[in-house]
């Protein structure tokens, strides 16, 4: 088996991100200090999560249109990856917040809404367990997935902008750009987003393929 080009790209991007992200030059900021590097690691987890949940939404809609169970399989696995990256994002955020905001879980609207949004997707996984019939399960949870994605976006991207939050770029806070006015973080930040997303997609496709193989074995 030859490694596909995008898997090689994933490896190269992430090795570059690790080296340049940990040892490269970053803007000097009080309080943040070296932790500004977490932009490449913590922030990208949420970007990746949102991407996976969006891909999952597309597969759920495709399932509803076609009724093919393989589409639903992909939707589930992308939600699983989204939850994984979301939990990593939460844990890394708590660690970062502990040393910059003074508390691992400050009473911040964005953190609270992120927690609620995660619960919406936990509910998706639990809801799936409630059905024995495969098609019924796929149909109902696909519809739920559409609602969950809407709620997720409202909670993560809209509500925090309407109140005061510690997160940059929201609620009157300036965006992250002010920390990076020389644009020295962008050459690492953008590859980091792409790299982590590709890594998650890789892991997801492995799980989808395993599921498909299992399905083929039980059907025969």
């Amino acid at each position: 088996m030859k490694l596909q080009w995008w898997k090689i790209l994933t490896i190269l991007l992430l090795i570059y991100v690790l080296i340049a992200g940990l040892a490269g030059e970053v803007p000097r900021q009080a309080i943040l200090n070296e932790t500004v590097r977490n932009l490449y690691f913590h922030v990208t987890m949420w970007f990746a999560m949102t991407t996976f949940l969006f891909i999952s939404l597309i597969y759920s809609i495709r399932y509803l249109r076609s009724g093919k169970i393989s589409e639903d399989d992909k939707a589930v696995e992308f939600v699983n990856s989204g939850i994984l990256f979301g939990m990593i994002g939460f844990a890394t955020g708590a660690l970062w917040g502990n040393y910059t905001w003074g508390s691992p879980l400050p009473k911040d609207p964005k953190i609270l809404s992120a927690a609620i949004a995660m619960l919406a997707y936990f509910a998706y996984v639990i809801l799936r367990g409630a059905f024995d019939d495969e098609q019924k399960r796929a149909r109902i949870t696909s519809v739920y997935n559409i609602f969950a994605f809407v709620i997720f976006n409202v909670l993560i991207y809209i509500l925090p902008r309407m109140t005061d939050t510690l997160h940059p770029g929201q609620g009157g806070n300036p965006g992250f750009n002010i920390y990076d006015n020389d644009n020295i973080m962008k050459p690492v930040f953008y590859p980091a987003i792409l790299g982590w997303i590709l890594l998650g997609v890789w892991i997801t496709t492995l799980r989808v393929r395993l599921k498909k193989a299992e399905r083929n074995l039980t059907e025969n």
């Binding site: 490896i11 992430l14 090795i15 070296e34 492995l206 395993l210 498909k212």
Partner: protein, 85 residues
């Protein structure tokens, strides 16, 4: 006369190399410049030891990726088996 063209001894190459050397020198002096009074891990990088940690993290990452590649291959084999049956 036995004239051999040696790339490393041409005037152009020498100029290029000295220019490159100048770039590296200025870059390294910029790198080490302490900016403002804000604490950063300058000492760590000056000592060159931050690279040890970066190396360790990269090694761990390579290990995980190798595991992922092997898992990928295993699933490919499984798929082939399923197709044959």
């Amino acid at each position: 006369m036995n004239f051999k063209y040696n790339f490393w001894q041409t005037k152009f190459t020498k100029q290029l190399l000295s220019l490159l050397g100048l770039f590296i020198l200025t870059a390294s002096s910029l790198w080490a410049q302490p900016g403002g009074g804000i604490e950063m891990a300058d000492k760590l990088r000056e000592d060159g030891k931050i690279w040890v940690v970066v190396g360790v993290i990269v090694l761990i990452f390579i290990g995980i990726i190798t595991y992922l590649i092997r898992l990928d291959r295993k699933i490919s084999r499984l798929e082939k088996q399923v197709r044959k049956e």
